[in-house]
């Protein structure tokens, strides 16, 4: 690199930066991770009833997926802009935006997963006198899990990346560091934040995979979980 900020050495990677601003980096990393986890938790809690509803009342499946699709097409910056005047600058606005984006992938994969459950299995459970709720929770849900997990993985990775756009409302986690690094032409700050973002996405993805393995002991030997990745 021949680019130096006014004659000063300006490396892209610097341990010196971490030594000096480690606390600040850690703080933003924690904000970033907690925001992602919180958004995913809320998105799952909202998506599941919607998916079940779409499945029970097929007429609603189109409108639910359509609305989620339209919201998904609206760019993040525009969505934050539409929310900011009402929810203010800060965490709430970013959180709502993240939930909305995660919703489409989750709802779609949940519906695909629930629809893919073997009808014979459902019939057998019904024949044994399972109630609707029990059928859903103990038969359909576990069978739909591979597809749901695939959706969750996509949602998690996208959400980690999306948090950074929160800078427009002053709450972008690691994006805040990228943006400040850009304003002060501090290369190490931008690169560190970028690498941490990628690392966080990787860790989240791994955590979900491990969690899924633990939750689905029956799928461990087979390769079913892999083939079920519905289109993103």
């Amino acid at each position: 690199m021949t680019l130096y900020g006014r004659g000063v050495d300006n490396p892209w990677l610097s341990l010196d930066y971490l030594r000096r601003s480690g606390d600040e980096v850690w703080e933003h990393l924690v904000i970033h991770a907690s925001l992602t986890v919180q958004a995913l938790a809320i998105a799952i809690a909202v998506a599941f009833p919607l998916a079940v509803l779409a499945r029970r009342v097929p007429r609603l499946a189109g409108p639910i997926l359509g609305t989620a699709g339209v919201l998904y097409t609206v760019p993040s910056l525009a969505l934050f802009a539409l929310l900011a005047p009402y929810t203010g600058i800060g965490r709430t606005t970013v959180l709502i935006g993240l939930v909305i984006y995660a919703l489409l992938v989750l709802v779609r994969n949940m519906i695909v997963g629930l629809e893919g459950v073997d009808p014979d299995v459902v019939d057998a459970a019904r024949g044994q006198g399972y109630s609707r709720t029990r059928l859903l929770l103990t038969v359909e849900l576990p069978n739909a899990l591979p597809s749901i997990v695939a959706g969750l993985r996509i949602a998690a990775v996208t959400t980690v990346a999306l948090v950074t756009v929160g800078v427009v409302v002053g709450y972008g986690g690691l994006g805040q560091l990228m943006f400040r690094g850009l304003q002060s032409n501090y290369h190490a700050q931008i690169m560190t934040a970028t690498l941490l973002c990628l690392a966080l996405a990787l860790v989240m993805d791994l955590a979900i995979v491990l969690l899924a393995r633990w939750a689905m002991p029956w799928a461990r030997s087979g390769r079913r979980a892999r083939g079920r990745r519905a289109a993103a």
Partner: protein, 243 residues
């Protein structure tokens, strides 16, 4: 003085559309540039930047995807590329480019947007070509067609629906990415939102959000139409994006 009525005022004032100084201006070096205070100019700039990014991406991804798909090799690479690009924050790439030798402004944005436009085109071209029925390919070879003829006259037409789907995904995504340009001193409709936030004019922020959302939904609808038109009628139900 509610936000909504401010947004309405902003959108119904002629000057916010035409700008105080017309649509085009000149840079210091005499080259043409879009004015940053007119919705029309910013929309044109937005579309121009998106078009440039998708064109660059397609110029590389289409031949590469078609070639790899024809050979049926490198599918793993395509998947890895699209997964990494999903994890890479757009803002990270934008700030990295802007801080590097590429510099601030539209060029950095176009390159970054082109990189994000790349994976959907590549994976769809690959899937389209490699997914052609093996029997069809065998039959073409059996009739004495050369490798090139099989690729261009048999596989390519059958891959068109997926190619179109890839172009649609990529274009919609690019038009949605370009608003972030405003954060690194680039142009496009994001400028309205960014300026509004910086000057605490929330009516303008809301108006900008609506404009960007409308543009994206409009482009997506247009591309859906083109995709449908590019797809031969019998293949229409099977055409689903692979990315």
């Amino acid at each position: 003085m509610s936000t909504v009525s401010d947004a309405w005022d902003y959108l119904t004032t002629a000057e916010s559309w035409t700008g105080a100084n017309g649509i085009f201006g000149t840079n210091f070096d005499g080259s043409l540039r879009f004015q940053r205070d007119s919705i029309i100019a910013l929309t044109l700039e937005h579309l121009w930047m998106s078009f440039a990014a998708v064109t660059i991406a397609a110029a590389i991804a289409l031949p590469l995807g078609l070639w790899l798909g024809h050979l049926g090799r490198g599918g793993g690479v395509a998947t890895v590329i699209s997964n990494v690009s999903r994890a890479m924050p757009t803002l990270a790439l934008l700030t990295l480019f802007a801080a590097s030798a590429i510099g601030f402004g539209n060029r950095a944005v176009i390159i970054a947007a082109a990189i994000f436009a790349f994976p959907p085109i590549l994976t769809n071209a690959y899937t389209g070509m490699s997914g052609v029925d093996r029997d069809v390919r065998e039959a073409a070879f059996g009739q004495g067609m050369t490798r090139w003829q099989v690729a261009l006259r048999v596989e390519l037409p059958l891959a068109v629906p997926l190619l179109a789907a890839g172009m649609r995904t990529s274009t919609t995504q690019t038009v949605a990415t370009v608003p972030l340009a405003a954060l690194v001193a680039g142009g496009g409709l994001g400028v309205i939102i960014n300026t509004g936030l910086a000057t605490q004019r929330y009516g303008q922020v809301l108006a900008g959000g609506l404009l960007v959302a409308a543009l994206c939904l409009g482009i997506d609808a247009l591309m859906a139409r083109l995709e449908r038109r590019a797809t031969p009628a019998p293949l229409r139900n099977r055409a689903t994006a692979a990315a």
